[in-house]
Symmetry: D3
Subunit: 114 residues, 6 copies
Amino acid sequence: MSDLVSDFNSYRSKMNDKILSGDNKVIKRIFNLDTNAFKEGHLDVKTKELLGLVASAVMRCDDCVKYHLEGCKKAGLTKEQVMESLSIATLVGGTIVIPHLRRAYEYWELLENQ
Amino acid sequence: MSDLVSDFNSYRSKMNDKILSGDNKVIKRIFNLDTNAFKEGHLDVKTKELLGLVASAVMRCDDCVKYHLEGCKKAGLTKEQVMESLSIATLVGGTIVIPHLRRAYEYWELLENQ
Amino acid sequence: MSDLVSDFNSYRSKMNDKILSGDNKVIKRIFNLDTNAFKEGHLDVKTKELLGLVASAVMRCDDCVKYHLEGCKKAGLTKEQVMESLSIATLVGGTIVIPHLRRAYEYWELLENQ
Amino acid sequence: MSDLVSDFNSYRSKMNDKILSGDNKVIKRIFNLDTNAFKEGHLDVKTKELLGLVASAVMRCDDCVKYHLEGCKKAGLTKEQVMESLSIATLVGGTIVIPHLRRAYEYWELLENQ
Amino acid sequence: MSDLVSDFNSYRSKMNDKILSGDNKVIKRIFNLDTNAFKEGHLDVKTKELLGLVASAVMRCDDCVKYHLEGCKKAGLTKEQVMESLSIATLVGGTIVIPHLRRAYEYWELLENQ
Amino acid sequence: MSDLVSDFNSYRSKMNDKILSGDNKVIKRIFNLDTNAFKEGHLDVKTKELLGLVASAVMRCDDCVKYHLEGCKKAGLTKEQVMESLSIATLVGGTIVIPHLRRAYEYWELLENQ
């Protein structure tokens, strides 16, 4: 696994554990909701992961983009489908999204090559 | 047709005409891209309209939400699918999205009743 | 009660009822969390309402500002404390916050006069 | 003068007076800075007003856009220069800026016709 | 002192000196206002630092979060109070705030351990 | 050339090539529009680069700020003109812009020294 992918996941996992070991119920419930919201419902998992990806991209959160790129990969979405979603994010969110598009492209390549 | 729906569409249409009657090529091309980006491609129109809806909701643009709610309705999406998409937007974008969720719900009802 | 205050609250209440009558659990839980997060805990209600107010102001959500202004009023905060919080929001969030500051000031006056 | 223009200015003026009649020094100084920042310096007033306009447009603040459109008009900028600036704002900020572009176009027309 | 804390502070200090050595009065006054706004007034320093922290978190600025975490530490706020404030930021600002919550948690631990 | 400048440009160039080698027409056209929008028109290149810089700064995108700082340098703008533009960005966008102002100042110095 590439360093960028494993570093991202191990830091994420380590800090989530610390945060969830505290007594803050609001944070725990938000983390819990995040898991539930992306499960199959009236929409399938593929569509939901793309919704999470586009929301993350227009709000320009690299870590959130990475997280949903991993979800997209696991759900079986293709590179073309992911890029088409990101093109909508770039159009709606503007050229300010482009630096995040570059990093998303790089991360997707790493996920494909591992 | 409800006043809210027809007022939104007539103002939108009138101002778009004025803006596009000018000589600014960048604006014309962006308007043109907006039409192309939501056509069927590697993803179907339903998925793309939901992506546009969620991007609009997390960026908290009521007019953009209305525009994509109309697209969702035309594409044949159900109320449950639209609300599930908006629940993801509210989770990712935070409770700050809730006032827009209220207005989106109201606008969807108007679209269903016309 | 001023029209602006009663209109805001009746619309808010009517739409919340409609949204919560649906089957979307993620939205219901987010609404529920919103109630819990602002209850007394390690911080008192006054401080929490000011935190909600400043978060709403820098993210420039008028409805959220109104909602927390009402919370501030009920919690017994003074006009000076509210304005001092909003001055921090204007400094951190920039002059782009000023139009929301004007509407916040107007709404606070209405709350004081009713 | 059109109602939209005069209403905007009289509300703005009335609320600014109220806000500045309070004792909050941070807010007073921010208002004061706003006046100073747009005076001629290493850049001329025209350029500065366009900078204020584009900043307001990408942050999607209608009232701030109106305020700087008035500044642009007073500084002698042409419709073509204003629209070219707004085209950059729409490209950088994305199609989410378009509803604000419509209202900016309408307001500019009102300013030209009075 | 941890490298992360000392690197942040030395870079911040070095660049502030350079910026303030220039002739730009608007920037100098904004820096000055930032110092004044967080002094005791109608609200105490603890409350103000939490307001600065939450504003920084919902606007997702890691450096600003670090700056106010240091202010919170100096003002004598507890970890529980800081985390409760950040839980409000995460609820209001959405799950997009979570990556910043992770880095805030890490930085607070470093401050506690030095 | 400084490492920071050359690293930024080589990564940017490498990833742009990869992204543009794909089949996504929307992304290609947005990249193309970005080149056209900043060419001389009703406004000169200097003014347009400053507009791009301020839009990037208030939306807090470091990579976009760097890109337009390079454009400003090539267009012959002075440090004083760039800093004056960034002071407007800091006033309109708030103190949340300051960390980006530090990195912008550092990058401009690197561009001047190469």
